[in-house]
Symmetry: C2
Subunit: 134 residues, 2 copies
DNA sequence: ATTTGACTTAGAGTGCGCTCTAAGTTCTAC
DNA sequence: GTAGAACTTAGAGCGCACTCTAAGTCAAAT
């Protein structure tokens, strides 16, 4: 719970998050970091564990197609403190609906693809299948 | 099974597929149609039911993030006839793996978002929750 | 001390998938 | 026959999310 935090170079942060160093800098410039990333005396970035955790959560938002601008809105609410919790909740609940719809559409698409795969594999035993125009 | 096919204007095709007329023309130019779309004497497009069905399947590929170029590869295989079935199958099976991974990542991201939602809603009854830095 | 590689910045460039424009033609309704 | 909507084309433009560049600074090893 205390800040015995080990600090990470941008290369390490890249390893840990799966984002490129370019993207990490880009996200920072885009205002997506919760608080300013520490700097070494050399001005090199030093990522704390909590920075890493934040970026990790951020990638969950991104991987569910939340636009950068929306992520920024969310971060800005976070930075404004505890009295924005209701707004943050609403934002996430709204996003949740989008994600559920995405999952649903994707599942249906997968089913259609699987159906096509089955026709190629010969869904009917004994070669009873008909020639399809697709 | 016979071609009693009703023909559809591009506006109707747009309605039926959920794609804009712009996108329908774009896909055609991009070589994504299985066979050439019929034209009225006026040169207006006339979509057959099988065109519609094809576009519908095409959107399943697109909605699972298959790039346009890959869809085109697939279509070209389809056009080359029955001896490309093995290649088509391989292409779809490869894509299937990608889609499954996407579904998995999305599901995990949703879980992370739900977890955050729960913390905002007060996951613990009786307000036992701690202030989080996020 | 010098080389090598990792880092810094601001800003330009890229790739993808549309999306729109403009100028012209055709269909539908009156 | 004329108005207005829907269609046609080739090609330009756009938005998003990176991704890269260039010129310079800093760090670790020899």
């Amino acid at each position: 719970m205390t800040t015995t935090d080990q600090l990470h170079s941008i290369a390490e942060a890249s390893e840990l998050t799966g984002l490129s160093t370019h993207t990490l800098r880009y996200y920072e410039r885009a205002g997506l970091m919760l608080d300013p990333v520490d700097r070494a005396s050399s001005s090199h970035r030093r990522y704390s564990q909590s920075d890493i955790n934040w970026v990790t959560f951020l990638t969950k938002l991104r991987s569910t197609s939340m636009p950068i601008a929306r992520v920024r809105e969310y971060v800005e609410l976070c930075r404004r403190g505890e009295d924005t919790v209701a707004d943050r909740l609403e934002l996430l609940l709204t996003h949740r609906i989008v994600v559920a719809a995405q999952l649903d559409e994707m599942t249906k698409s997968l089913a259609a693809i699987d159906f096509k795969i089955a026709t190629y594999q010969g869904s009917h035993p004994y070669e009873e299948r008909q020639a399809s125009q697709q």
